[in-house]
Amino acid sequence: MPHSLSSQDVTTPGGLLLVLAILIPFVGMLIGFVFGGGKAQRVALATLAAGLAIVIAIAHALVQSGDAVIYILGGWKPPLGVALRADGLSVVMLVAIAVVICGIGVYARADFGTPSGVKEARAPLTFWLLLLAVWGSLNLVFVSGDLFTLYVALELLTFAAVPLVSLDGRSETVRSALRYLLYALLGSVLYLLGAVLLYGVYGTLDIPLLAIRVRPEPAAWAALALMISGLLAKTALFPLHLWLPPAHAGAPAAASAVLSGLVIKGSWFLAVRIWFDVFAGVVTLPSAQMLGGLGAAAILVGNVVALRQTRLKLLIAYSTVAQIGYLFLMFPLATGLSSAGLDSVVSVNGGMLQAISHAMAKAAMFMAAGLVYATLGHDRVADLRGLASALPMTVLAFALAGASLIGLPPSGGFLAKWLLISAAITTLQWWWALVMLAGGLLTSVYVFIVVVRTLAPAHEGWKPKSPVPRYQQAVVLALALCSFLLGAAVLCPVDVMQIGRTVSRNTLLP
């Protein structure tokens, strides 16, 4: 509709907040870098609070106006200029990520405090700066309205995430960081090639303009294939998942939570953006089925391999591989719905909820594993006895986060899987529903194995290796509770995720 197009080209009230959401983390990072030492942590925590306030203000502006929040950089309109846009999907992700990042920030105070008597320690300084860098780049991924800016955002995210893998500097972690970087570089160069092809054919990289100009033809197919496969490598969808488990399991707990809960969501969100907003008129059901097939394979393989792990952190990392699979089941379901002439909102909302509840649950799980490691001095799944009495809150948090991954009501995972399964049944794609149910069963097996082991009584005279601060346990429990109670989103009166989503609706309607 023409009026919606022209309204895409003006800065809306609150548009400046989008700029702040990107700038504040990076400015905080630079200030922290200048002051260095123990001050970096204080700067980072202050930045987290400021950033959270800005993200809430963006959400407020979106709900108030009932339309996307837009900022036109420098007043230059697309296609020459660059626009920042936050629609419902972006804002929901912004808020969820901000909550998880703040949780991780509070948790990491204990692990990454600069030791007293030392002016500056490498790992804490790097962690706090990179935490802010990851946040800034994720915010940029969520609000960019232009495929090249998205490429830069994706690269920034990679550069911030890779050093988090090797924070402790052991050679295995450096090796997994290098492997991760090579996968990510291949992914981003394929993405860039797709973007270049699109510019060559359609003369713009602005998402709404491209959505209008793009036609089903070989150049668009090639660009879509290149961009999506590049993003799959970055998101670690089966069979490109090989880099993920060693990278995520080798990092310190707080860094694993950032990597597993948040970083992979950046490239996944970009795939969603491209699939539904740019190529809505190009994608076909068979191509979506292929993505769904990879997702289904990821669910089965990831869960089965997770069951066979002997170390808790590796188990959680393989569970991430499986949960990424659910994120990609939304593609065949949404495309199936829209090609049957129905609204694809159900499955898009299901996929987004899955991403958010996984971000919270997985961050909580990895941080719980960090506390387990601190208490026991190891994380062997076979030898977790005594934990439930030493760390009751943490074991509860692990169980609640696990319940969300399994999809027990009223968790966010339950609502997400409910929406996806009902979309599968509506579109007669029952096989995806079967895969989701089987995945839930397998997930429940390894969650229960871990929880049951922790309930065994400790040996006589066993003492925790090092005491764990109470607030760390409380943060982990709070994040797990957020994920567990996310199912209450169904009570939300407005469908926040679909606010301002004129782009895909326009192209879907003839």
């Binding site: 296609p79 020459l80 090249f148 490429y151 830069v152 690269e155 990679t158 550069f159 890779v162 050093p163 090797s166 500097g169 052991r170 050679s171 295995e172 450096v174 090796r175 960081a177 290098l178 492997r179 970087l181 090579l182 570089l185 291949l186 981003s188 160069v189 860039l192 090639l193 270049v196 092809l197 510019y199 060559g200 003369g203 990289l205 060693p246």
Partner: protein, 114 residues
């Protein structure tokens, strides 16, 4: 064959070579070089697109040229980060391989504690 087609084909060939090297070569340094060759191909393609889209009185479409420079900077920093990790890996163990555990023959030739 006109200019843009020739350059386009060169770009495709570079991307193909780079991709082959990146996937097939086991050595990390060669993988990094493979990535750079793919990058050169993509940038050449983008330059060709800029030239093809030239308006009257201009040598080329300025937008891709601006993006191209950003892309080159990003690829350069990616390479720098990869090489830094590679050097660190070499300092730590003396063996530069991506395999999780060095195979026995490699371990014999380059003991990790050497």
């Amino acid at each position: 064959m006109n200019g843009p087609t020739l350059f386009g084909l060169c770009a495709a060939a570079l991307i193909g070579f780079g991709l082959y090297g990146l996937i097939v070569n086991p050595q990390p340094l060669r993988k990094i070089i493979g990535f750079n060759i793919i990058g050169s191909g993509v940038f050449l393609l983008f330059g060709t697109i800029a030239r093809r889209g030239a308006a009257v009185g201009m040598g080329g479409d300025p937008v891709p040229q601006a993006l191209l420079i950003t892309g080159i900077v990003v690829a350069f920093s990616a390479t720098a980060l990869a090489v830094a990790l590679l050097l660190r890996l070499f300092d730590e163990g003396g063996v530069v391989t991506l395999a999780s555990e060095a195979s026995p023959t490699e371990a014999k030739a380059d003991p990790p504690d050497a």
